[in-house]
């Protein structure tokens, strides 16, 4: 299968028990991808329900303060449910409905993708079950309750490290039961083909809008676009329509956690090695024997040992650049954006803000940078307080 490959990355490395459903999904997606009615319905959901198009906001105070390139912020945090995740789930859950499925299942780390999936399932009338590491259900009780309010059933995953990768394992195991009325709604540009392609297609609305918006405001393309990368869905969405614009730098910010030298990070490009896991060939944090490594980041959304295969390819070809950003840098940027622009962003997105702050001062004033602000930060306030040693009784 040549499709589903990005250079040597990607593929369909899954148990035979998943192949039937995967092939069915691939065929259905290929059909609906070319179906104008599907696209009309999806666009309607995105615009009338999720609140698209999202704003491209000129951050004037930040620009003045940094004294270099103009800073633009793509406000995915203003979408319904508070992050870019809704773009993908509306696409996938609509597809599930078209395929005649009755039930969707999904993994979630911090709960953003779970909440988004539960939302779309509630709206489109499908049953929804979410698999979430037990550790994460305890750290993110609010999101668990939110999913339950939306009618989803949340299964705490008690295997392995009880975090995101184990939630993916368990969702794959559930999907392998081969129940024909069920579709796996994967949350990032990862996993076996067609997920990396399909999720990228649904998220590419970010750069389709941003490219038009920046041309309208600036009359030229940005010098750089910056986004955080865990599995890599907001960044892939942010990069996609700029890939052919060779002068636009594409920068993905990986979670360097407590520092790359500490071993406590989730930087698959900086510290990972090529590997095969969760259905794809890509870069993974792993030991020398190929055992998947436990990873760490203050940001639960970036706390994943791998990266999507298309990112791995963009890295190999040099088209995109991947940089590490530590917890400390991200927290600093989180606070800076709140004070400077009055925006409390997701700690994931703060990784991108941090790197933009680093490069903007040295760039020309007539150039611009777009930061993808993938989500809002309400969910992170307590963790930031803890990081700063403040007890806010959460």
């Amino acid at each position: 299968m040549s499709e589903g490959r990005y250079g040597g990355h990607g593929g369909q490395y899954v148990p035979e028990t998943l192949m039937n459903e995967l092939i069915r999904l691939e065929e259905s997606y290929e059909f609906y991808k070319k179906n104008p009615e599907f696209h009309r319905e999806l666009e309607d959901l995105l615009n009338q329900y999720a609140g698209r198009p999202s704003l491209l906001y000129y951050a004037e105070k930040m620009t003045e303060n940094l004294g270099g390139a103009k800073i633009y912020i793509k406000r995915e945090d203003l979408n319904h449910t508070g992050s870019h995740k809704i773009n993908n789930v509306l696409g996938q859950v609509l597809l599930a409905k078209k395929m005649g499925k009755k039930r969707v299942i999904a993994e979630t780390g911090a709960g953003q993708h779970g909440v988004a999936t539960a939302t779309a399932a509630a709206l489109l009338g499908l049953e929804c079950e979410i698999f979430m590491g037990k550790e994460d259900t305890e750290r993110q009780k609010l999101n668990v309750y939110r999913m339950e309010l939306l009618g989803a059933k949340v299964h705490p995953v008690t295997t392995g490290t009880m975090t995101l990768k184990d939630a993916v394992n368990e969702t794959m195991r559930e999907w392998a039961m081969g129940v024909e009325d069920t579709l796996y709604v994967l949350g990032s540009v990862m996993g076996p083909h067609p997920f990396p392609m399909m999720v990228r297609d649904f998220q590419s609305v970010i750069s389709r809008e941003a490219r038009e918006q920046i041309l309208e405001k600036e009359g030229k393309l940005p010098a750089a676009v910056v986004a955080c990368v865990g599995g890599g869905s907001n960044s892939m969405g942010m990069f996609y329509h700029f890939i052919e614009d060779k002068d636009v730098r594409l920068i993905g910010c990986e979670a360097a956690g407590k520092g790359l030298h500490t071993g406590q990070h989730a930087a698959a490009i900086a510290k990972g090695m090529p590997g095969i896991f969760h259905g794809m060939k890509s870069y993974f944090c792993q030991d020398e024997c190929g055992q998947i490594a436990p990873v760490y980041s203050i940001s639960a959304g970036l706390d994943y040992p791998g990266i999507g295969p298309e990112h791995a390819y963009l890295h190999d070809t040099g088209r995109a650049q991947y940089v590490p950003v530590t917890d400390g840098e991200a927290v600093g940027a989180f606070e800076y954006l709140a004070r400077t622009e009055g925006i409390i962003c997701a700690i994931e997105s703060a990784h991108a803000v941090a790197y933009a702050c680093k490069i903007a001062p040295a760039m020309a004033r007539e150039d611009s940078i777009i930061i993808c602000l993938s989500g809002r930060g309400d969910k992170d306030v307590a963790a930031i307080a803890r990081y700063r040693g403040a007890d806010i009784g959460e």
Partner: protein, 297 residues
């Protein structure tokens, strides 16, 4: 979420006399070293396991609870009548396995088990028995070890085949040339898939076919509502390679029932359950279980 296994072998203690008989049997099987009446390593084929009654295929996770114990357990399995041994190479994230084998993987990994230990285990088994042996491993540890190095080492240590749960038909071509060059059969899995897919996979099968009678994970509960006979007939229409059925949980009678249309039965997690329960002392329980299973088949 998963029901406990029923019928996982006798828990009664075994008396000395039986023990002695077993030792004799062991000597007979092992031939006390490769020289006396044993086959040469290259003569051993997966096909040896089939053709004399239903093949009884046993699975253990290598290094659970230690390499030395795994070797002992494998010996017990062979003494009790296992025709083919499947050794699982521990992996951090075994997505095709249910909780029983997942936990065995974690036990082995926390005991510090690495690939070299697995080859040591295989070599140890091969030194003493002619039993055909296959590894079950996820692809990443093989990818990191290097396809050529891995297959060469399998050949060297007497491993006859490899089953890789996360390498479906569509992805096997990257490993296949190395496996073929080193006489290692890549074992394929058949599920209740569309007929065309079953035929496609079976037509290229090597060694034996691992037939999953229902979807889900190993040791799972997945109700079997598929026509196993029909699947096996489809397989037989395109290949002579033997077909063994994965047996999840239940009585030996149920296993025998399942084996009827097939060439053998793979005990997916029953032996691993015994190891989970009895740890280092699992040997005699494994022997009794396999003996009972083999007799029923």
């Amino acid at each position: 979420m998963w029901p406990q296994l029923q019928d996982i072998g006798g828990r009664t203690s075994v008396n000395r006399k039986q023990e002695k008989e077993r030792e004799k049997e062991s000597d007979r099987i092992s031939g006390k070293g490769r020289e006396q009446g044993m086959k040469t390593k290259t003569e051993i084929k997966i096909g040896d396991a089939f053709g004399h009654g239903k093949a009884c295929i046993g699975f253990v996770t290598g290094g659970d609870p230690s390499v030395k114990k795994s070797e002992e357990f494998v010996r017990k399995m062979v003494q009790a009548g296992c025709d083919l041994i499947e050794i699982g190479i521990p992996f951090s994230d075994p997505i095709a396995e249910g909780p029983v084998i997942q936990e065995a993987n974690l036990r082995a990994l926390s005991a510090g088990i690495k690939m070299e230990h697995m080859f040591g285990l295989a070599a140890g088994v091969r030194e003493k028995t002619d039993v055909p042996m296959v590894f079950l491993t996820y692809l990443n540890p093989v990818f990191r070890y290097g396809y050529e190095a891995f297959c060469a080492k399998c050949e060297e240590t007497g491993v006859n085949g490899v089953l890789i749960p996360d390498m479906p038909y569509e992805e096997k071509k990257e490993l296949l040339p190395y496996a073929e060059a080193h006489n290692v059969d890549l074992i394929s899995v058949i599920t209740p898939a569309p007929e065309q897919r079953i035929r496609m996979i079976a037509a290229e099968a090597k060694g034996f076919l691992y037939v999953m009678p229902s979807m889900g994970v190993t040791g799972g509960t997945g109700e079997i509502n598929t026509d196993l006979g029909k699947i096996i007939a489809l397989i037989r229409s395109v290949t002579d390679v033997p077909a063994a059925v994965g047996f999840r949980a239940g009585t030996s009678g149920q296993a025998a029932e399942m084996a009827r249309p097939a060439d053998g039965v793979i005990m997916e997690s029953a032996i691993v359950s015994l190891i989970a329960r009895h740890g280092e002392d699992a040997g005699e329980y494994i022997y009794d279980y396999v003996k009972k299973m083999k007799a029923a088949l």
